[in-house]
Amino acid sequence: MSLAAHPVLGSFLQNRNFLDVLYIIAFSLFIQGLRGLSGPTTAVRGNRIAAVGMAIAVIATLLNPLEGNWGLIVLGVALGTAVGVPAARQVKMTAMPQMVALFNGVGGGAVFLISWSEFRLTNGYAFTPTYVAIFSLFAAIVGSVSFWGSNIAFGKLQEIIPGRPISFGAGQQIVNLVLLILAVAAGIDIAAGSHSEAIFIGLLVCAALLGNAVVLPIGGADMPVVISLLNAFTGLSAAATGIALDNTALIVAGMIVGASGTILTNLMATAMNRSIPAIVAGGFGGGGAVEGAEGAGEHGGTVRSTSAADAAIQLAYASRVVIVPGYGMAVAQAQHAVRELTKELESRGVEVSYAIHPVAGRMPGHMNVLLAEADVPYDQLKEMDDANPEFQRTDVSLVIGANDVTNPAAKNNAASPIYGMPILEVADSHSVIVIKRSMNPGFAGIENELYFDPKTAMLFGDAKSAVAEITAELSHI
């Protein structure tokens, strides 16, 4: 501020061209930062480069001669920092998906609040070109959907709201469609010059209900895809805000996120053999539960259970063990215990690797993050396509809290809701040990026929204590 007040330097700093140059530097850094995220060795630096870009963009904006109301700015930034920093520092690695959902949600919240404020400042877009109204209203609808949708996703992952689909039944699609039409109609009315704030609030309410109505019926297993989709939505709404405010930094950064979010969403949906429209249509887990009940009947429910001591013996005399981690490992914080077990087995000459399904856990790469935290060497982690041909020469597959991603129904049972989803072909290995808390079906709500396979032994218990017990038993052998 003192620099900006300087008579010569100040006018230079506040020159529009100079500020635009700062914006160009900022989004170049975003692009460079995202490129850095393409490899594990450059990713940390990439993220920091993007953060520097953000700092430059914020400084450039504050230098803007039209800037004012510094007290409000300081208040807002202080509040945001006071909430955001401790949340980011203290969140457990297992709770990461919901944290991303929450951070995504507040971004969407900021977007629709900014649109609302623009509406009020311009007396309902009375003295702006029509396109400004259109983009601002688009941002309001999409931002509001993203805010409420992300909050529901957070609630489901945090298990405040049941993970199972909550649906209005057959009328669901119609309800969604009507809400969308109402929101768009309100937008058209305002863009056409109604200047009515009541209608603007109606638009926000319809979009909010739509965000809730779209995400509530979606089962927990699809949640990563939903978060990714909402991330793309928030990016697009930020880009629309950028066009309404004529701000290149917002346009570029928002659109890059919109594009990347779309790619990620597609990759995740492909990995689950699900189409994005089918996911948004919802009800995945609901249908699965019915299917699962029939499946259990067919198998007669013969499940073989084992003890930690038996499992230890089985593992100790294997020459090749593949560990298949899933959400159960994450919830139990078992990654360090798993690493200890691996060390113990390796000291006995057992070859150990990890098979990682692209959507194991609740987000792509979730398992990698946890195992990396426990110092598991990067080259022991095998992706699905590399891991699958190896199962046939694997003596023991140790499944730790993974369920749907190992379910052979995806290959064998055309009636199963997960039919066609690529799975880790654990059933090909010579024997299987599954560590699981109970026989409850997994997040998708589908019974797993792997557990009824004669070569599968179930070790019931919390992943962390079960793995620790096996490691303890190993030392007695």
């Binding site: 109301n69 955001g84 991303v100 609040l113």
Partner: protein
């Protein structure tokens, strides 16, 4: 006419940014998808700039001031929280393959 050209320039930037997003991000390996989602999530915290710009015009409208402070706070949470969380996740990858030399 001047307004129309501002719009078309911005639309061109929008389309090109979309293509850059596709090209840059399609190279990211599976294992980094969670940090990538978190990192892009932090970048759309750029909406903070929107709040900072509009608050300059807030005038005497108290309600407007309130929603803008909330918007700025939300944007700040998105930016600060997003980058910090991504950094924490990525730090875990760093210690293994990288030989602590910081350069590559």
């Amino acid at each position: 006419m001047i307004l129309a050209s501002v719009l078309t320039t911005n639309l061109a930037i929008l389309v090109l940014a979309g293509f850059i997003g596709f090209v840059v991000i399609s190279k990211v390996p599976n294992t980094l998808h969670t940090p990538l989602m978190s990192g892009t999530n932090a970048i759309h915290g750029i909406v903070l700039l929107g709040g900072l710009l509009v608050v300059g015009f807030a005038g005497n409208d108290t309600f407007n001031k309130i929603i803008l402070v909330i918007a700025i706070a939300f944007g700040t949470i998105n930016v600060v929280g997003g980058f910090l969380v991504t950094d924490r996740m990525l730090e875990m990858f760093k210690s293994k393959p990288a030989k602590k030399d910081g350069e590559d």
